[in-house]
Every structure is written in structure tokens, then in C-alpha cells.
């Protein structure tokens, strides 16, 4: 691992908009608390906070687009330095930067950007709520690596198992004040609950039935609430235990607003027991119960739209996620942890399976990435208090689905007609989702239901 550069991380849920960071920045750079001089800006609109601040990007657009060579990333510190002498005040950097990280100062009549205050940012020190933290760039992702890995070494997942990735990363963040449910499926099969009296997780962990994960967790949570203990409930259900036989229990728990984080690790079938079909197995996919022969050509039905169904249950939080977009997942997990204090938080993690889907383990992340880029797996979230779906990684010009399908053995047999079906369904799915991006649509549907 490289040394990593420092950067300023922002935790909007801790921010109350007090502007102390802004004052501190102005004070440091201009000797005045006038916010006009601040390189950091915290603004409020529509009940949420936005942060405009240089991200000290790895591939900085400001640098790439500056016609004067006035911006440069310092390879020692990672700070993007602005050279006043070379700057011609053309402002193309303000157009190139997606983050409003470099802005025009009407008093000094030049652009300005965060320079890290010589390595000890004043804003971070000034924040009374810990909403700003100075971290190494890699730490924003890898700070979780410093948290205790609650999964024991040597659990028996397949090579390149995405579900194990989800399990380890999630439990690190959620911590050990938790009750972990891993219903029958890959998560349990790899030994989370252990074998012969041993355990695979350094936290209370259990096998619910395949059918009752959400109900059992709800029972435990209710009792802890009753006796005044704050314990997080988290489930790692497979798609079978979630969308098939476990659905009733999950649906009931969601309707009752049971407080838990329910993570569906969707590997699109029963990968733990010989690759059988589930209701989230996609159209056309080979499984051992949707085989390919002279008459049948893989699964003949489309996958159940599980996350959308959970939106319609009025969950506090619903999101889709992919390990190919870890930052996106981390952020959603943070929101889920918070939402689970109020009700159910459901995250549907797309979880490609090298073993069951027939692709090399080294292609895991690429499969995940292509799924998103083709819109096979749109990344979005739904916050009940916002009341609508928001794409967290909109893909407006998706790659053809064939670029995803061709990576995976379970789709090897698809003919043109089947691929065309998948392409059309993918488009349709996006169009349906887009309807839910309007608050009115979602609210109306809830009332109608």
C-alpha cells in the first residue's frame, strides 16, 4: 500500500452548519473572519448540508484543464498547489472542478483553493462536532481496516468470494455491539456461526431459519429495547433467504418498522448448495435448476425487483450497492446504521459469485463494475424521510449489456434474442426507477397501497 495523501473528510450527519470551519479558514488565510476568504464552504439548502472544498483529487481535473500550468499536484504531499504567478485568472479550473473546490474570491480578485494550511488545516481544528477529519486519502477507505475484523481468519469461502468481502467490511464498521444473523446460505455456509461449537465471528451470531431471519432479529431487538440496551441487529441474508422463503418474514418486519440493518447479499441463486435458481436469478442465466438444453435456455423469468419492493414497504432506508463501488457502499452503510435506529434499513448488495457464475476470481471487481456501467445494477438509495429514490451513480450512457454478460459463464449460451430481452428489460428497469425519483410518485404509490 502506498503512503497515501492526507485529505479532509466530511461527515455531513455530524454537521450543524455552524460555520466555524469557514471562519477559521478565512482567519488563517486572510486574517479576517469574512467568509469571502474561506476556501471551505458549508452551505445549507433543502434541509441538507453541502460542502464545497478541494478534494485534492488523484486525477485532478483542475490541473488537467489549466491552460497555464498554474495548478499542480505536489507528489510529496498530495496537495494541489496553485501558483499565483502562473495563473492568468481564466477560471477554467472553476469549470473543470466538479466539487467547487476552487472558487473565485471577489475581494482578492483571484481564484483560491484549500492549501491544507501547511499540513494542519484550521477548519478541522475549528470544527466542534467532528464533522471534519484530517485523514490519509487511503484512510477514508481503509480506516475501516483499522477497525477490528470481526470475522475470524480462515473461514471457508471460495476463492474471490464477494460475500466474504461484504461481511468483513460491514462488520468492521458496525462493530461488536451487535447481533448478527446469517441464515442458511453462503454466509452461514462459510462458517460464520462455526462448526461443532466453534464460531466464525467475534460477536453474537446465529443461524436463523432460512425463512425467519427478520422475525428473529426483530424479537431480539424488541427485548433489548425493552430493557434499555442499544444493540444493533444486522442480517446477512442471501437472495433465497430474502426474496424467496424469507420474504414473508422480511415483509412483515419491514411493515412493522422493526429496527435492523438487513443486508441482502444477492448472488442471484443458491450458490452454496449447487447453484440453483432463486427469484433474483436473472433472465437467461444458467443454474442447475434452469439448465441449458435443447428446449430450455436458462431462466425464463426476470428477477424479482427486491429493493424496489422494500421501498414500497416504507423502509427507513433502502439502497442497492456493489463492492466495485466501495465508497458508495460505505456511505450507504453509514446511512443504514443511522436509519436502523428508526426502522428497517435494507441494502441489496450485488454479489457476483466466481464459483457459481463461472468467471475467474480475478474478474470479480470488473464484473461488479460492468454491471453498474451497463445499468444491469443501478446504484441508488431511498430515504424514507426524503421520500424518493436517488441514483448515487447515474449511468446515462450505459454500455451495452453484452459487455457485462460476456464476462460471465452462466450467460455463455445466450442468443441474440435473449440478449435483446435483457437489454430491453435493463432499460425498462431504469425507466421504472426514474419514475420513483420523483417524490410525488413514491408518495402517491404509498398512499394508493
Amino acid at each position: 500500500m502506498g503512503k497515501g495523501y492526507k485529505t479532509i473528510a466530511f461527515y455531513p450527519q455530524r454537521c450543524d452548519g455552524c460555520q466555524k470551519c469557514v471562519e477559521a479558514c478565512s482567519e488563517f488565510h486572510a486574517g479576517s473572519t469574512d467568509p469571502v476568504h474561506s476556501r471551505i464552504k458549508v452551505v445549507e439548502a433543502g434541509g441538507a448540508f453541502g460542502l464545497a472544498l478541494c478534494r485534492q483529487c488523484g486525477e485532478p481535473q483542475c490541473v488537467m484543464n489549466c491552460p497555464a500550468g498554474a495548478l499542480e499536484k505536489d507528489t510529496e504531499t498530495g496537495v494541489i498547489k496553485w501558483d499565483r504567478d502562473r495563473c492568468v485568472n481564466c477560471h477554467i479550473c472553476t469549470l473543470a472542478c466538479p466539487y467547487a473546490g476552487i472558487t473565485y474570491n471577489v475581494v482578492s480578485e483571484e481564484v483560491m483553493k484549500c492549501d491544507f494550511c501547511e499540513g494542519d488545516p484550521a477548519c478541522v481544528k475549528a470544527c466542534p462536532l467532528g464533522a471534519l477529519e484530517l485523514k490519509r486519502g487511503a484512510e477514508i477507505f481503509n480506516e475501516w481496516a483499522e477497525l477490528e475484523d470481526l470475522v475470524v481468519p480462515g473461514i471457508s469461502a471460495c476463492l474471490g468470494c464477494n460475500s466474504e468481502l461484504v461481511l468483513r467490511h460491514t462488520l468492521r464498521r458496525v462493530g461488536s455491539n451487535v447481533v448478527v444473523a446469517t441464515p442458511p446460505g453462503c454466509m452461514a455456509g462459510v462458517g460464520t456461526v462455526g462448526v461443532n461449537g466453534k464460531t466464525g465471528v467475534k460477536a453474537p451470531v446465529f443461524h436463523p431459519l432460512l425463512t425467519n431471519t427478520a422475525a428473529m432479529l426483530a424479537g431480539a431487538k424488541r427485548y433489548y429495547k425493552r430493557i434499555g440496551r442499544d444493540v444493533t441487529m444486522i442480517a446477512f441474508g442471501g437472495d433465497g433467504g430474502t426474496a424467496d422463503v424469507g420474504f414473508q418474514s422480511l415483509s412483515g418486519a419491514a411493515e412493522r418498522g422493526e429496527q435492523m440493518i438487513y443486508i441482502c447479499v444477492d448472488n442471484e441463486g443458491y450458490m452454496n448448495t449447487g447453484v440453483q435458481r432463486s427469484s433474483t436469478t436473472p433472465y437467461g442465466a444458467w443454474t442447475s435448476t434452469t439448465p441449458v438444453g435443447t428446449v430450455l435456455r436458462g431462466k425464463s423469468r426476470d428477477a424479482k425487483p427486491m429493493p424496489l419492493l422494500m421501498v414500497m414497504h416504507n423502509c427507513e432506508y433502502v439502497a442497492t450497492a456493489s463492492t466495485a463501488f466501495m465508497e458508495d457502499y460505505y456511505r450507504k452503510l453509514e446511512k443504514a446504521i443511522e436509519a436502523a435506529r428508526r426502522g428497517m434499513a435494507y441494502i441489496h448488495v450485488f454479489s457476483p459469485c466466481p464459483t457459481g457464475w463461472r468467471f475467474p476470481p480475478s474478474k470479480l471487481i470488473e464484473v461488479g463494475r460492468k454491471a453498474v456501467q451497463t445499468n444491469i445494477v443501478p446504484l441508488w438509495e431511498y430515504e424514507n424521510r426524503v421520500g424518493r429514490i436517488r441514483f448515487t451513480h447515474p449511468v446515462e450512457n450505459p454500455l451495452p449489456v453484452a459487455e457485462y454478460l460476456s464476462l460471465i459463464g452462466k450467460f455463455r449460451h445466450l442468443d441474440e434474442e435473449q440478449i435483446a430481452h435483457i437489454q430491453a428489460q435493463t432499460q425498462r428497469k431504469i425507466e421504472v426507477l426514474k419514475k420513483f425519483t420523483s417524490e410525488q410518485t413514491t408518495t402517491t404509490l404509498h398512499h394508493a397501497a
Partner: protein
């Protein structure tokens, strides 16, 4: 015969961007950058500032001298390509040298577009596309007293301002009815024009030049209105056109520029890419392929081309180019993104405007079906980059439109924090 696995022709934004993208994936393979001029890489966008003296010519280069060496890239200055043999995977230079390549990127940019005006070929005039042009113009300015600028685009307007500051009397002639027609609507253009007029620059819009003649050290222009103008310095700044003359007979598909697909692959041949001002690529708003000569397009197209050349699986196809620019003049600042010129009377669009002429302030947001499609501003606080991303990413603003129209700066930043962080 020289050989390079990756051969990049042209060393401005697009070429440099492609270079970085290639090196991100492939740290070893041969990469060669051919630069027609004898200088290190620079951006044509910097030239007005060289003219004005804000920056010295030797300080405009985009890469430090040791950069290419550290990257293991061969940089060839003064290497002007005169022909491409796509079948042989080779190019020929003006010097007669031949270079073989496995993958070729054409990033040769654009040249000034000279209008057909009777007599123009016979007079001495300036253009502004190279560092050499800039130095010549700067030298000429010091000796001249009265300048005529043909074309009120960004180059012309910048130059006019610079010449005024250098003490010249300046007149700008523009065939269309407004200045900066590519970026601003009439109201914004009027405001900008007002600043120029107040500073004493004469602007003649709606005037075509019918003929040019030279007598002694002076050029004389006859205009369509019957007026004549004369001056001792003529700058022709009527736009640019892709440099494609060296592609004749190469098989590379050229219309206005080199026609490319969404991975910047050139049509008609194998293993050739094009990016930047030379490329004719998808337009963002569903319009036909066109040349979009902006820095942002060049950087993005160059990166996509480089990624595709090196087989980077993270490649996202080109989403299309749109008109984007920033413009500073007489201590004022302006920007324009996307369909900023749409007028409020047009169907299918919703336009929010703030117009405060006394404060020299104008702001305009254009929506279509819940999406932002254009924005422009003069002396506003808005973040052009955030607005540009809201358009590019097609962020649905239907629900936020009320808040967004009232607080575009704040809401833009909140959305930025939420959507792409």
C-alpha cells in the same frame, strides 16, 4: 524507421491527457509524443495572456521538462506529421522520418479559420493560435496605434481588451448581431459589449467585411454597411477549424474533423484514435457529431482515447460535448455551460433569470423536463463546475427546482455533496 507502441500526434490538452491515461495502466510500453512545434507542450488558450503580457512565453508550458523522462515517454518537438499510412500503421514527418505505431492518437488540434474576403490574402494580418503567433502579435502591438479585430469570439475579445490596455485604439467587427455568439444570449452579450464600449472599444456587430486592402502600413476594410475602417494592425479571429490536411488519402474518415465514436476511435481505419479540437464527436444534447473546441472536451476525449488504447476496463464511453467556457474581461467574469442561449419563449424549456444591469450582473438557468440543460452567468457566485456536472450527469431536479432556483449556489453544492460527493 522509428517505432512506438503508442504514438500520440499533438501535445496539447488532449494528447497529454491521453498520455496520462495510458501510463496509469501501462507503466512500461513505448509511448511517443510528437509535437509539431519546437516548444514544450502548451495550451492555445493561454495565448491571449501571452499577448497581454500577463504571462511570459517561457512560463506557459504544461509539463516540466523532466516530466516525460520520468514517465518513460519519448517527446519529439518539431515533429510535424505530414501524412498517415493507416494500412502500414505508420506516419511520415515533415523531416521525412517515418514512425511505425501500434496505436495512433491524432490530437493535432485546430488552426485558425480564415474567412474568404476579397483582398485578405494580399494584406498582412495576424492570427492567434500558436506561441509564435502570440509573440508576433505582441511585438506588432507595441508599434501599432489602431487595431482592427475581425470576429468577436473569445480570442478576438481577449485580444481587443489586451490591445486596448496596450494603448491602442481598438475596433471589433462581427458579422453576427452580438459578441460571443457561441456562448452568450443577446442579453448577456449586450452586457459584455457595454463593458467594452465603456472602456472605449468600438464594436460593430452585424457587419460583414466585403473587402480588405492595404496601403502603406495600413489596412482598410470595407464593410457591408458601406462604412470603411482603417488601422495599422489587423487580427483575424473568426474561429478555428480542425487540422486534418495531413490526413488526405489516409483513409481516416474526415468530415468537419476526424469522425470518432464514443471511444474516440477514428472512422474508416483500424488502431487510430482522435481527440480534442481535431475530433468530431457526439454532441451531448443528442445533436449530430461536431467539433467542440474546448479545453474540457479535449481533456476528456484525450483521457477516453488513452483508456481505450490501453484497454482500461474502467472506460466509460463519451457522453458528448457541449459548449462550455469561462471568460474574464475588465475585471468582470462570466461563464456559460450547455444551452445557455435558449430564450424563455422557446417551448420545452423553462428559464430562470436574474438580470441586474446596474450591478452588471446576469444569471440564467435553463431547464428542460426537470433537468438543468444550460446555465450562464456574469459576475455571479455560481460554481460553473457544479452546474456543468448537474447537466452532464443528468441529475433530476424536478423536486428541488424550487429550492434550486432560489438558492442555486447552495442547492448545487448540496446536490454535489449528495450525488457525486
Amino acid at each position: 524507421m522509428f517505432h512506438s507502441k503508442y504514438l500520440i500526434v499533438g501535445a496539447s490538452h488532449a494528447g497529454l491527457s491521453a498520455l496520462d491515461a495510458i501510463r496509469l495502466i501501462e507503466p512500461e510500453g513505448e509511448v511517443t509524443l510528437l509535437c509539431a512545434e519546437s516548444t514544450p507542450p502548451y495550451s492555445p488558450t493561454i495565448l491571449p495572456y501571452v499577448v497581454s503580457g500577463e504571462v511570459r512565453a517561457e512560463e506557459v508550458f504544461l509539463r516540466r521538462s523532466d516530466r516525460f523522462e520520468r514517465m518513460g515517454v519519448r517527446f519529439e518537438a518539431g515533429a510535424r506529421v505530414v501524412s498517415v499510412q493507416a494500412g502500414d500503421h505508420s506516419v511520415e514527418l515533415e523531416s521525412g522520418e517515418k514512425w511505425e505505431y501500434e496505436k495512433l492518437l491524432l490530437a493535432t488540434g485546430a488552426a485558425p479559420s480564415i474567412p474568404r474576403i476579397e483582398g485578405l490574402e494580399g494584406v498582412s494580418y495576424h492570427v492567434l493560435r500558436t506561441l509564435e503567433d502570440a509573440e508576433k502579435l505582441r511585438a506588432a502591438m507595441s508599434a501599432a496605434k489602431e487595431a482592427i479585430v475581425l470576429g468577436a469570439g473569445l480570442i478576438g475579445m481577449h485580444a481587443a481588451e489586451n490591445m486596448l490596455k496596450a494603448g491602442l485604439k481598438v475596433r471589433v467587427v462581427e458579422a453576427l448581431d452580438q459578441v460571443l455568439p457561441a456562448y452568450f444570449d443577446p442579453r448577456g452579450a449586450d452586457l459584455i459589449e457595454r463593458a467594452f464600449l465603456e472602456q472605449g472599444i468600438e464594436i460593430l456587430t452585424g457587419e460583414r467585411v466585403e473587402g480588405v486592402a492595404q496601403s502603406g502600413g495600413r489596412v482598410e476594410l470595407s464593410l457591408s454597411s458601406g462604412k470603411t475602417l482603417s488601422g495599422d494592425l489587423l487580427l483575424v479571429s473568426t474561429g478555428v477549424k480542425p487540422r486534418t490536411e495531413y490526413l488526405k488519402g489516409s483513409g481516416v474518415e474526415v468530415e468537419e474533423g476526424v469522425v470518432v465514436d464514443d471511444r474516440m476511435r477514428a472512422g474508416g481505419v483500424e488502431d487510430v484514435w482522435a481527440a480534442g479540437d481535431v475530433a468530431q464527436a457526439r454532441g451531448f444534447f443528442g445533436d449530430s457529431k461536431r467539433v467542440n473546441a474546448t479545453v474540457l472536451s479535449a481533456v476528456e476525449q484525450g483521457r477516453i482515447a488513452g483508456m481505450d488504447m490501453v484497454g482500461d476496463s474502467a472506460l466509460q464511453p463519451y457522453g458528448g460535448g457541449m459548449a462550455v467556457n469561462t471568460y474574464t474581461f475588465f475585471k468582470h467574469r462570466a461563464f456559460s455551460v450547455g444551452m445557455g442561449k435558449v430564450s424563455e419563449s422557446e417551448d420545452d424549456f423553462e428559464v430562470d433569470q436574474v438580470y441586474l444591469p446596474s450591478s452588471f450582473c446576469y444569471q440564467k438557468l435553463v431547464f428542460s423536463g426537470g433537468y438543468l440543460v444550460g446555465a450562464s452567468g456574469i459576475n455571479t457566485e455560481l460554481d460553473p463546475g457544479v452546474l456543468y456536472q448537474l447537466i452532464r450527469r443528468k441529475v433530476n431536479l424536478e423536486e428541488e427546482k424550487g429550492v434550486f432556483s432560489a438558492k442555486p449556489l447552495e442547492m448545487g453544492r448540496v446536490l454535489m455533496s449528495q450525488v457525486w460527493r
